[in-house]
């Protein structure tokens, strides 16, 4: 059977093993799921500690740390009944959570996680226009949300979906503009080449304004706490996924953490130099890929902590404040970053393009 699959894909055996590893384990299926489980646990525990509570402690090993709580929650959700409301558009309603999870996990396929020794990158699908592909995937998200909110036929879902649509569509503009300055600086749409351009200096030092705009824009895109207007519990029960139950709700929750995974990877690629860092002796002996992955995951973890902390320390902003800030502060700052990048070209060009 294995031989047959080689023939279809046109690969020899080591390449086939590599593909299976990529698709099933590291950037593929297992990694975002594990990321989601660990981050859900860490979020609950860390927010509890910020609020001087203890957090989940009953389920799991290691001295009552509640380590298996997300898995227990997931099992509970799977057992529950799936309820479809009356007058809901059945097809769209049932399709939306699957699409949300699918689209959220798609962008992981185009992110390079480490360089391979003989050339090429540790990523599922290499394309020289991966930045454009990622932007295209991000544009698809609001429409799934609108579809889910509309198909639920409930006022909370509709209001939540409209809020999400406003927020997501208006913050894509400053986001795309600040990514433009990165494209100007690195001269390519290829995420892997963008990382390679940062080998001497990270873009967070060259473009601090762009980093702040992208961080806030990405947090708005995935609706984390200071910007979680679509989910505001006090106003609209749970926003657009209010009517979802059981497995569908689990899918939507998982898709949010897939998004978090993608967003932290992307910010790492754009500003924090991706896999660049000194080689770790033990990991480097096994494979230089592992060393790169270690640095990538470390940077992702720091970003995740910063993004998660917002939920414990910030109050939620109002929708009009958020949109106001997006149009009157976000876009001018992004344009300012582009002009600064263009005006200071003679200083950064030798640093970035290896002059």
């Amino acid at each position: 059977m294995i031989g047959l699959e080689f023939l279809i894909l046109g690969l020899d055996f080591p390449q086939f093993i590599e593909l299976v590893l990529k698709v099933l384990i590291f950037p593929g299926l297992a990694f975002p799921l594990l990321f989601a489980i660990i981050v859900i646990w860490f979020e609950r525990k860390f927010l509890a500690r910020i609020m001087l509570r203890i957090g989940p402690l009953h389920i799991g090993p290691f001295n009552r740390t509640g380590l298996l709580q997300p898995i227990a929650d997931f099992i509970k959700l799977i057992q529950k009944e799936i309820i479809v409301p009356d007058n809901a558009h059945k097809l769209i309603y049932n399709l939306a959570p699957i699409m949300a999870a699918l689209v959220a996990s798609l962008s992981v396929a185009f992110i390079p996680y480490a360089p391979k020794p003989g050339g090429g990158y540790w990523m599922i699908f290499y394309t020289p226009f991966s930045l454009l592909v990622i932007l295209a995937i991000f544009t698809a998200r609001p429409f799934i949300i609108i579809a889910a909110g509309w198909a639920s036929n409930s006022k909370y879902c509709t209001i939540g979906a409209l809020r999400a649509a406003l927020q997501l569509l208006s913050y894509e503009v400053p986001l795309a503009l600040s990514l433009a300055s990165i494209v100007i600086m690195s001269g390519t749409f290829d995420l892997a080449k963008i990382v390679e351009a940062q080998s001497s200096i990270w873009f967070i030092i060259l473009q601090p304004i762009g980093f702040i705009v992208v961080l806030i824009g990405m947090m708005t895109e995935i609706a984390r706490r200071p910007f979680d207007i679509p989910f505001a519990e006090q106003e609209v029960v749970f926003g657009w996924p209010t009517e979802y139950t059981g497995t569908q709700f689990a899918l939507i929750m998982v898709s949010e953490y897939f998004d978090l995974c993608a967003v932290t990877s992307l910010i790492t690629v754009f500003f924090l130099g991706g896999w660049s860092g000194p080689a770790i002796p033990l990991l480097n002996d096994i494979s230089p890929i592992l060393s790169g992955i270690f640095w990538f995951l470390l940077k992702m973890a720091i970003l995740t902590v910063i993004i998660i902390m917002g939920r414990g320390i910030f109050p939620r902003v109002r929708i009009d404040q958020l949109l106001d800030a997006g149009w009157t502060i976000g876009i001018p700052l992004a344009i300012l970053q582009i002009s600064i990048t263009l005006l200071t070209a003679q200083w950064w060009l030798p640093l970035v393009r290896g002059g």
């Binding site: 509890a48 500690r49 609020m51 001087l52 203890i54 402690l57 009552r64 910063i306 902390m309 320390i313």
Partner: protein
């Protein structure tokens, strides 16, 4: 304005490594305060069958039943509101409040304490670790008032 955004991060980290206000409850428990009101406990030998506790009970949680040739109150934990009236009214000091709080059962019948069970001393909850409020206050460094 920038400081307003950065300061909460430091505060959040500062709090995250502080001692928590709460304890890991079922495993570590706070000792109850002196005048804590838990389940009512009956001393059968002292009871003089005067019915004053049954009369004063606002929820009819107490009821007289026969037990070893003597009329003594029977206690329904599901109805009791822990108001302390029966303890105050008892002329023979046969009733007292204990610090037992966990008397939930799976059926309504299980909540009824027959005189035999009613006179049992409270379940010991000192089986793992206990922390008094004073020690906790010292350790966590933040007083909650």
């Amino acid at each position: 304005m920038v400081l307003d955004i950065i300061r909460p991060f430091f505060l959040g980290f500062y709090h995250a490594f502080k001692r928590t206000f709460t304890v890991k409850h079922p495993f570590v428990r706070l000792t109850p305060t002196e005048r804590y009101r838990g389940r009512v406990v009956l001393n059968i030998d002292r009871c003089i069958s005067c019915r004053s506790c049954v009369n004063i009970c606002p929820n009819k949680a107490l009821e007289m039943v026969k037990f070893e040739k003597k009329l003594v109150p029977q206690y329904d934990a599901g109805r009791c509101c822990l108001c302390n009236l029966c303890v105050e009214v008892c002329p023979a000091i046969a009733l007292s409040m204990s610090y037992e709080v966990e008397f939930s059962e799976y059926t309504r019948k299980g909540l009824i304490h027959t005189p035999d069970r009613f006179s049992q001393p409270p379940k010991s909850f000192l089986f793992e670790k206990t922390v008094t409020v004073k020690i906790l206050d010292k350790k966590r460094g933040v007083a909650h008032r």
